[in-house]
Symmetry: C2
Subunit: 413 residues, 2 copies
Amino acid sequence: MKATIITIGDEILIGQIVDTNSVSIAKHLNAAGIVVREKISIGDDRTQIIETAERALAGSEVTVITGGLGPTKDDITKKTLAEMFRSDMRYDERVAGHVEKMLAERGIEFNELNRSQAMVPACCTVLFNAHGTAPGMWFERDGHVVVSLPGVPFEMEHLMEDEVMPRLKTRFALRQIVHRTMITAGLPESMLAKRIEAWENALPPYLKLAYLPNPGAVRLRLSAYEVEGESVAREIENRFEALRRIIPHNIIGFETATMQEVVHKILTERSLTLATAESCTGGSIAARFTAMPGASAYFLCGVVSYSNESKAELLGVDPADIARYGAVSEQVARQMAEGVRRTAGADYGMATTGIAGPSGGSAEKPVGTVWIAVATPRETVAILKQCGTDRGQIIDRASAFAIGLLRDCLNGN
Amino acid sequence: MKATIITIGDEILIGQIVDTNSVSIAKHLNAAGIVVREKISIGDDRTQIIETAERALAGSEVTVITGGLGPTKDDITKKTLAEMFRSDMRYDERVAGHVEKMLAERGIEFNELNRSQAMVPACCTVLFNAHGTAPGMWFERDGHVVVSLPGVPFEMEHLMEDEVMPRLKTRFALRQIVHRTMITAGLPESMLAKRIEAWENALPPYLKLAYLPNPGAVRLRLSAYEVEGESVAREIENRFEALRRIIPHNIIGFETATMQEVVHKILTERSLTLATAESCTGGSIAARFTAMPGASAYFLCGVVSYSNESKAELLGVDPADIARYGAVSEQVARQMAEGVRRTAGADYGMATTGIAGPSGGSAEKPVGTVWIAVATPRETVAILKQCGTDRGQIIDRASAFAIGLLRDCLNGN
């Protein structure tokens, strides 16, 4: 069972937005055993919409289209699909009532633009959009399905989950797709590939291996398409188990596992607590931890000590040391980590101080220079890292290095 | 001049990664006046790569391909393009030397997988990749150009900027594309469309208007394709100027303008200072401000007071009030904002306290309940907001509402 995803909107082609809709749709289809053959993004252009949809319809059993269903003039998907399926338009009372009610709740008048949202091609099945004003549409021709969904991510997501996927599962007899991804750290791609070469060569032909390098990590994905899911999933687990014996110290976890999740798990399991003191990372480390449900069990507090005064007052850093060594120094990083650990009464304190740029660098301490420290119940560890040249990249890398150092400390490395 | 972008990788089709490469490539091409006709993502599949590249080559003068150039077995783009262009492979000494040097610097051995990266199709021009081990490639056939770049975003980006764009500008006589986007807030899409209907109807036919709704904002984009840039840019400015008279209070700014940038500008211009006290937003507000260069001029410090003890110790919140009203309450939010303002000696203090979930909600204070407060030199303002049900969404929305409230206070609203 093959699918094509089409996202419509000039904003995609000019690079104004990142297309996350197709990512979410691809995940839904994969999880149900439907293989996405191709993803295509095109503009709000009648000819191109018809050509692309016809080609998708010919090449795959399922086509999912998003975008171009808004009330304004630049949105032409609905009328173009009606034309392609040679269908009249009809006024849908249920949609009209829903739109009117939604707008009334938000104190918005029901005007003719909104009324036009209740017009739908007569030949389609309306997919009721409980969370928005543009209805989804389900078309069929010669046993092939074409679905059109609004481009607002939240509305699209609900329609995929509540309307499209249940209908696809009823409509088609689907086989299964299995993906499993192991996250490794500490070995660059080519060294990892050499290290696991024998393991890779011994994989059965129906298991496809992909290497996905990230900064600081390489992901290994095993995939099998349109198979009996349960036995293949077990086989994949066994293969990864074997890998664990080859690279035992390089495995972070599975799927979207991150270093902060590893630390989150250790702190939670051992009932340890954490406090952060951030200068150049500006709250990013605190935000990474507190984004995870359950962080309140171990995350006591964070201080973003941007000014020298706050480093002294909130963290107890010695102003004389700031003057002598500079705010970006091993001495200050250590005192920040120890200070926040003491103030918060936490088991572990961690700190960053560096130059995120674009200004503030010097020959001795260029932009990207970051001191990182972790204060533990036994000792304080500090490292110096060069984190790049771009402000965003520096913040990201310094945060990642700091969390990595904390993991090493927790593991007693 | 038309272009097609092709991104290759099974990870895109299964929804494992978000394709940001095509966004960046589209921006580069647009900026040079090249119209992106279509973006296509396909798997690491020989037949599909050839079919798609041939179709792109037939339909547009420029085709940019990324992905599938790594050293491991799953990467087949290079040999597939060599086949498509009927070319032998040759060993490129410069690439080989560069790869060996890069790896040596990182302490990585030069093995046969790395050596294979120096093999390139004899018919292509090598685009030297100073930042990575996979070279870019430039092919020509019948006046059409096909460029193949590595999928690592950082390397792709440098190659686009340093190699591809200069060559395209030399190779073709290009016209211009002009896009300008105004960010509005406070009017939902359909009301905005009604309000500016006469303005929209009076636009000249070569100016294309698009409505791009975001949570809390609607972006209005005017686009003109393959025109004389300067005069059209002036015309667009005039049109937006006219719009400013119709919706004077709803304009945030242009392009990617955000509420925090508006606040950043006000604080910087008026030499005012800011301190943040965050509970449920966990450092996100501090991270939003400190991500902007120059934030150190006004951002004094932030406190992420997750524990009740830290609310009392670092911010001076009365523990009796936490016990009486709960940590998520107007009283605590006010005291947090006032406390951090006082501790930091800042002109403005802002605070959030809420229930980010998934647990911790009650009938009276469900997940998503957030109290937001801003302490100013004159008064303290507090508002209650319901910020949704998903942890990430709650953190985002609460951060946005808080920064919006600060803007209103700074504007004296």
